[in-house]
Symmetry: C2
Subunit: 459 residues, 2 copies
Amino acid sequence: MDQLLESLTEILGPENVLTGEAVLERSADWFSSMPCEAAAIVRPATTEQLSQIMTLCHKARQPVVTHGGVTGVVHGAVASANELVISLERMTAIEEVDAVGGTMTVQAGIPLQSVQEAAAEIDMQFPLDLGARGSCTIGGNIATNAGGVQVIRYGMMRQQVLGLEAVLADGRVVSSMNRMLKNNAGYDLKQLFIGSEGTLGIVTRAVLRLQPRLPSEQCAMVAVPTFDALTTLLDLTSRRLDLSAFEALWNSHYRLMTEESGAHRAPLPVDSPFYAIIETQGVDREHDAERFQALLEQAFEEGLISDAVLASSEAQRQELWAIRENIEVLIRALGPMFSFDVSLPIPAMASYVADLERQLAQAFPEAGRLVTFGHLGDGNLHIMVTVGDAGRESRYAVEKLVYQPLAEIGGSISAEHGIGMEKRDYLYLSRNEDEIEVMKMLKKALDPKGLLNPGKVLP
Amino acid sequence: MDQLLESLTEILGPENVLTGEAVLERSADWFSSMPCEAAAIVRPATTEQLSQIMTLCHKARQPVVTHGGVTGVVHGAVASANELVISLERMTAIEEVDAVGGTMTVQAGIPLQSVQEAAAEIDMQFPLDLGARGSCTIGGNIATNAGGVQVIRYGMMRQQVLGLEAVLADGRVVSSMNRMLKNNAGYDLKQLFIGSEGTLGIVTRAVLRLQPRLPSEQCAMVAVPTFDALTTLLDLTSRRLDLSAFEALWNSHYRLMTEESGAHRAPLPVDSPFYAIIETQGVDREHDAERFQALLEQAFEEGLISDAVLASSEAQRQELWAIRENIEVLIRALGPMFSFDVSLPIPAMASYVADLERQLAQAFPEAGRLVTFGHLGDGNLHIMVTVGDAGRESRYAVEKLVYQPLAEIGGSISAEHGIGMEKRDYLYLSRNEDEIEVMKMLKKALDPKGLLNPGKVLP
């Protein structure tokens, strides 16, 4: 290792090869306060440097873990003492913004929010959006195929990427920087690197697809009396509005974020079983607001909602969204807490959550508690569970309750967070043996020495 | 081969192992009248039968070519005398339609149009749409990552597929029939089989994503005085309408389809340099028509269009689209003809086509002629060229003129038709050496004996 670090120092300069204290004061896991245990952290500035790093690591059989914003929640960036962390924190350039073609070319270490802001400057939008926007990176978004709050309209990160460049385990650079919306010239290699959590290659640059920024945005939070009403409302708004987000909040979540924690003013009374944030992006400045209100009125008359509050300014809109997105409040209130991200058929959701709640109360009668919210239109729920301690046994017991029913109802143990180390041993619940075998075949073909993010994703 | 055919006959029955005349009376190539040369055509009815077929072929090192609707235009389904054709014509079942989840589960041999119609029956839509809808199959759409006229709104086939099942070269079945909109549980294996033209596996079943059918549709054909006006109109309609299609017709195409061939009545005078078909799908039954017309009026006032005709009935709408989609008229008028499908940055299009026209006239002063149309918003042009003969030398000369400039301007030699055998030797113009090497690595990992659609895609 010492000799390798010396060679890396020659390439990167001493200020970009961190060891000792400089490593320990960093974290490799957003959900834990443990220091990073890696042997060293190296910080390349260019694809070429990263290629040199991997060429050396490949020769020395040195395993590596790539770090973007380290905001993942499945222990996908954890690094042990024999591993080297490659941080992309210096690779944050916007290389080109093409307003006509609607593309932006960036280095992978750039934070998501910087891309969103650069798109807005040319009256376009980069539609991927999630709570960690300020610190998560485009490379991390790609590696985990990030989702977020606008998937219902614009799809996941996979759909926002036109081209990318990756460094393979042996240092080879595969530059597939396509800018065309359509390109069926051979296999679509970028798909290999999207969502494979840094185990098949290290994404260094990307061509992102931008969308026109639409002139009319509407946002409301509504109180919904039953789960049936919630799904009917989703169908109605999908067909009658230009929906860009439909976020559901169970009472457990809304009440905690407002009345119980005092963190946010409650815009609606706290006694409704469900709440939803409904947002639209439309082209008709003249009629969209009117149509949005008319639809809410109709929903009220039909008993689909019992109350509603419309955001009449960007500040009010952000207040509504903060109730959904302020994850720190959840951690304070529920910690030590287990966080889950599952997908399942919408009709199965209500009973799945109710069953889970009941089983949790049985198994942990004193401290057991869960809080549910999520992207209803995507079939994606986030479930936060506390049982009073974070011990291995408690975790295992809770995981069993959360994951086991998903195999039967055709859901997934990971909707958008990925597998990392946390869900690796449960992968078999969402993927069959043949699928896992083909995954291992791909891993072996692209990273035969097993150097890239070892121990993540695959059992 | 004889022994293999005997074993296959035992599995499938004699009526499903075609040889001799029964093979020769079929075609393996839409663009040619040559008979199919394959040693035999086998017709499995189930995934299990197909798996048995491939197990036997793998043992016998027997190469195979899979046939869907055989409407591809890049010689991707051509089979030679030592190859076996696997036709999916008996695998046309709709296994399940889930109106709540918005999914349809089908066998791969089902025609696209049958899927569209089954979706419409539950007030949903399957948004992939292209001229060959009546005969092309879902399996072929997946294998070629088909595009079509609504890509601008709904994306290509890749985005319509939630899950799929494929039989590998050795007969193993990888069933990855995910129904969730979001599933980040491990590598997204389906991406391997989408767009790889049957060279990595044979798609047998798929879970398709449906979309709500929107209540309001508008359609118009407009005459556009300049290419700049055409791109400005695209930008304007993208931002102000709920665009679902924006098809551009060069004068060369429009005039041929109407006045010259007499095949279609000209809804607009034939002297405009460009035409466009503009279609929207919206949620506002009340205002969409009015807004559509107002925008066309504005475009007229700003000089972006010189004339327009609105479809006031479904019949009129189909008349407009027939001008764009009637490929038989082109073949009759231009045959022998070379057909191209390229993508390039929109700002480069006008001069690319003009240069090509000029060079063609220089190289083939007597019979050289081209006709251009395409999916403008996708950066995708279809160019039909005739030079009077279809000989190898002429083809090569025309290909050079069409493909060579694309490498420089960052375009692609195949936007949506794929590579097949036709463009294999030009792949290097759109993909670099490293990309082609990784493609070969994948091919080797999944089909080490090279049995699946040999000679297609990879040089």
